[in-house]
């Protein structure tokens, strides 16, 4: 099978590249080992330098609305972190004091939303907090399974009964000017977060939960749908096992599912992510890139891979595939002519992009531009 471009890795970076290339008229395929880091997405891009209109357009055409408003976001543990760009249903505030009085609403029996930590964090910022638990019979079916009172399963129920939740919150609400809810709305019915906001006479803030991230999965569904509507082929659950490279040019890749049916392309993009998604693999002796055998920038001495303090910056997270200035990946010290590396497989080497998500998007667009000769 032959395509103009093949993207190895179907996460945020791979899909952004795929959408940009399909939009420009290319035929492309995305090969993805499984689901991806969007499932753990906080929904915000930290300190992205400029409100790149192109990014917002690309996302909004897929049905993912972003808003740019540099400030802070509320974390699930009740702290505040810097952020610049976020999904529409995730608020950014100029300062942490976003309200006077806050009602925090959780579901009885739900342990993945940290209402007491949130309350403590908000009170530290001078906001008065009240925590209330909703006891919904509709969630009882989930609770019958001891491990399934989790974000995604709750979100499926909420897509059906969100109006009831709005009613109950309206009853609970006294003089609070803000309500904090877990991010368990709008998994399949994407309009739910907006409709909840319209239904509650106070500012509604959706705070994160333990993964999987409902806004993240929604983003994944929408971007993938957009990519397929543009004619892209998304090979989910397949894995590139090796590549045919001759004279500095990648000719084709071999996948676990298609085996001897090689996938050929004029250009390739490597968007396989960091260690979690096995874009980078570590053993006691080295850190390597398993698909193309690319050059990886890492420290020889394993003692230098880690900071013994968990909270400190970890050197291993900066290791990544080496590229030239055009993001062309290096192999044996020389750039491959038609292979671009984007996203987390580069390691945290591009601080100017602010965050992993920012790096994923900006490098993907840059690689797509190179391929299109822009």
């Amino acid at each position: 099978m032959k395509f103009d471009s093949v993207i190895v890795g179907g996460g945020l970076s791979g899909m952004v590249a795929g959408i940009a290339l399909q939009k420009a008229g290319q035929s492309t395929a995305i090969i993805s080992t499984g689901q991806n880091a969007l499932h753990f997405f906080s929904g915000t891009f930290e300190s992205l330098l400029s409100p790149d209109k192109r990014i917002q357009t690309l996302f909004s055409e897929a049905g993912v609305r972003l808003h740019y408003s540099p400030g802070v976001r509320l974390t699930p543990m009740g702290t505040f972190r810097e952020a610049a760009l976020s999904l529409e249903d995730i608020d950014l505030f100029p300062t942490p004091q976003f309200a006077r009085k806050v009602l925090i609403v959780n579901f009885l029996g739900y342990h993945d939303f940290f209402s007491s930590f949130l309350a403590d964090g908000l009170e530290k910022q001078g906001m008065q907090c009240r925590v209330r638990f909703l006891n919904l019979p509709e969630l009882e079916k989930l609770e019958q399974s001891p491990s399934e009172m989790r974000s995604v399963q709750i979100a499926r129920t909420m897509d059906r009964i969100w109006e009831k939740v709005v009613q109950e919150i309206r009853v609970l609400l006294k003089d609070e000017d803000a309500v904090v809810l877990p991010q368990v709305f709008g998994l399949q019915d994407f309009s739910v977060p907006t409709r909840i906001r319209q239904g509650i006479p106070a500012r509604v803030i959706f705070a994160g939960t333990l993964p999987p991230s409902v806004p993240g999965i929604r983003t994944q569904i929408l971007l993938k749908r957009r990519y397929q509507l543009l004619g892209g082929s998304y090979l989910m659950g397949d894995e590139v096992t090796r590549a045919h490279i001759h004279d500095g040019v990648v000719h084709s890749v071999v996948t676990k599912n298609l085996e001897q049916h090689y996938i050929e392309a004029s250009h390739f993009i490597l968007a396989t992510g960091g260690y979690f998604s096995k874009g980078l693999v570590a053993n006691p002796f080295q850190v390597y890139e398993p698909v193309f055998g690319l050059d990886v920038d890492f420290k020889e001495d394993r003692n230098e891979w880690y900071n013994p303090a968990f909270a400190q910056d970890q050197p291993y997270m900066h290791f990544g595939v080496k590229t030239d200035a055009s993001l062309r990946a290096l192999k044996d010290g020389r750039p491959l002519e038609n292979l671009y590396a984007v996203g987390s497989v580069l390691g945290q080497t591009r601080p100017e992009f602010g965050s992993a998500a920012g790096q994923a998007i900006l490098t993907a667009l840059a690689a797509a531009d190179k391929i299109l000769g822009l």
Binding site: H111, F114, S116, F117, Q144, S147, K278, P284, F310
Partner: protein, 531 residues
């Protein structure tokens, strides 16, 4: 009588201290146990968890061997819910001297250890993970014992017999009158409170820290801190303990324990200053994997969960730099006869699985000093949780059709699992999915087992001991602890400490899936949760 007065004060919340407190309490004494940190934080919780048959010591230390096999039989009865009756193999590899096997078996028989030479083929069938190259095998009644459970059960029984326990409380000095220790000054690290406690006898059961404790009391106990490093593999590779049939050496025991298996150990003398923070070096990791793979070749390609090290409280006998030749035997010192200091005794040496005997010896000495004449019953009275046999029977007895979490709870708590609130959806919800720990089990531990921190909770329930190393369960459990203790600020710091403690054991083996998990944990806690 004053509330701060006791018959005996025991310093040290390891297995020796807990066992001694139980024995003293069962003989009717009013007991207080003081521990500066949590239960089983020293050598107790930092070894293989091997229920020795004694075979390992049979050739070189017959006295220890005899102690081991006697205690082995006793623990199977009184600590059924802490013991896994796996049996053990002593294998001879092609590079080992097969002639040693006979010496070994003869020594075992002299010590009354049932050691049986079996066909290598049978050994391979008995334990499929064993190195298939083996040329000889001896089957012995080894097993594994969970040190946290054992320690907690002893302490619980002491409390059921009226004993009092102060955890996270450090002894800062002794109250002395002339040549007599009358009591201790303490400082509670969690509440910040200082308190004095009085008793006619104080027992120093601090393991390697007993060296300092003795110094503080003005006597000298020559101890030898021997560090032993171990690795935890992420699942059970073997279901039978595998040992090398040769003179004891590095990394020659592989023990299956609960959902994991453990290879160890090394033996290195370290300075006393390092005892509080022992780190595993890359060389030790390499040695453990290399030697371990000789016992079970699949260890060379099995995910490693953690590396950790403990410090054996050996008592110096000679200048052997490794400490291997020092007797693992029990040392009980009456400082009155030895040093002229009344009201103070030191119990040390020994092994995890001879703790009961150590406790009996120490308690006998305490009773003599207090002129109490009551026989020791710890060899016959089962520990709380161990009264009703195997966890399978217990689980089926308590619940007709036990769920996974109920089975797991029974395997951890034995018949005490009956006290977990269960059978309703709120209590049955899982906090730790790797190890199947429910809300009910966690609340039971918080209510009854002196839990202050997440790390304390881990020792009592296995929360955070599984594959994800607390990635998901730590913050869920922190929510429950915050609710129980009513202090969010403290819990936030506790959560950070817990993650740091997990990372300490992860980074020495930070590659492959362990590094993937670590990257994911970083992501979840720093970026998603914003800790």
């Amino acid at each position: 009588m004053n509330a701060n007065e006791f018959d005996v004060i025991i310093i040290g919340g390891g297995i020796t201290g807990a066992g001694t407190q139980r024995d003293c309490a069962m003989r009717g004494l009013r007991t207080l146990l003081i521990e500066r940190s949590d239960i089983a934080t020293g050598a107790t919780g930092r070894n293989h968890g091997l229920l020795h048959s004694g075979a390992r010591y049979a050739v070189n230390d017959p006295e220890s061997a005899e102690e081991c096999i006697r205690e082995n039989r006793i623990l199977r009865r009184i600590a059924a819910h802490c013991v896994d009756e796996t049996d053990g193999l002593f294998i001879t590899l092609p590079e080992d001297d097969l002639a040693y096997q006979q010496t070994f078996v003869d020594a075992c028989r002299r010590a009354d250890i049932n050691a049986e030479i079996i066909d290598p083929d049978l050994a391979r069938r008995m334990e499929p993970s064993v190195n298939p190259e083996l040329i000889g095998a001896v089957k012995v009644p080894d097993g594994s014992v969970d040190p946290f459970r054992l320690c907690a059960a002893n302490m619980l029984d002491a409390k059921l017999h009226g004993g009092q326990v102060r955890l996270h409380t450090e002894v800062t000095g002794f109250i002395r009158e002339g040549n007599t220790i009358k009591g201790v000054h303490t400082h509670n690290h969690q509440t910040g409170e200082d308190a004095d406690y009085y008793a006619p006898v104080t027992v120093n059961a601090c393991g390697i820290w007993g060296h300092h404790m003795a110094e503080m009391a003005g006597v000298k106990v020559g101890m030898f801190p021997a560090k032993g490093a171990l690795l935890i593999f992420a699942h059970r590779v073997n279901n039978v303990v595998i040992n090398r049939c040769r003179k004891p050496s590095n990394a020659d025991i592989l023990v299956p324990g609960d959902t994991v298996c453990i290879i160890g150990t090394t033996s290195t003398r370290i300075p006393f200053e390092e005892c509080d923070d022992v780190a595993v070096t890359p060389d030790e990791v390499t040695l453990l994997v290399t030697e371990g793979a000789k016992l079970a070749p699949s260890l060379s390609s099995t995910r490693i969960l953690r590396a950790y090290a403990g410090v054996r409280p050996l008592v110096s006998a000679d200048d052997d730099p490794s400490g291997r030749n020092i007797s693992r035997g029990i040392v009980c010192l009456d400082h009155e006869t030895r040093d002229g200091l009344k009201g103070f005794i030191t119990i040390t040496g020994g092994k995890l699985m001879t703790y009961r005997l150590m406790a009996e010896i120490a308690t006998d000495m305490v009773c003599r000093k207090l002129a109490v004449d009551k026989a020791c019953e710890t060899a016959v009275v089962p520990l709380p949780g161990s009264e009703e046999g195997s966890y399978e029977e217990v689980a089926k007895k308590i619940w007709e059709a036990p769920t996974m979490a109920q089975k797991a709870a029974a395997s951890r708590m034995g018949s005490r699992a009956r006290r977990i609130r269960t059978g309703n959806k709120r209590d049955d919800a899982l906090i730790c999915e790797c190890e199947e720990v429910s809300v009910g089990e966690i609340n039971a531990a918080i209510d009854r087992m002196d839990v202050s921190t997440l790390t304390d909770l881990r020792r009592r329930t296995r929360v955070g001991m599984g594959t994800c190393q607390g990635e998901f369960c730590a913050c869920r459990a922190a929510g429950l602890l915050a609710k129980a203790h009513g202090c969010i600020e403290r819990e936030r710091a506790d959560l950070e400490d817990f993650l740091q403690e997990r990372w300490k054991g992860n980074f020495p083996i930070g590659w492959g899936d362990t590094l993937r998990e670590a990257e994911y944990t970083q992501w979840v806690y720093k970026h998603v949760l914003g800790l």
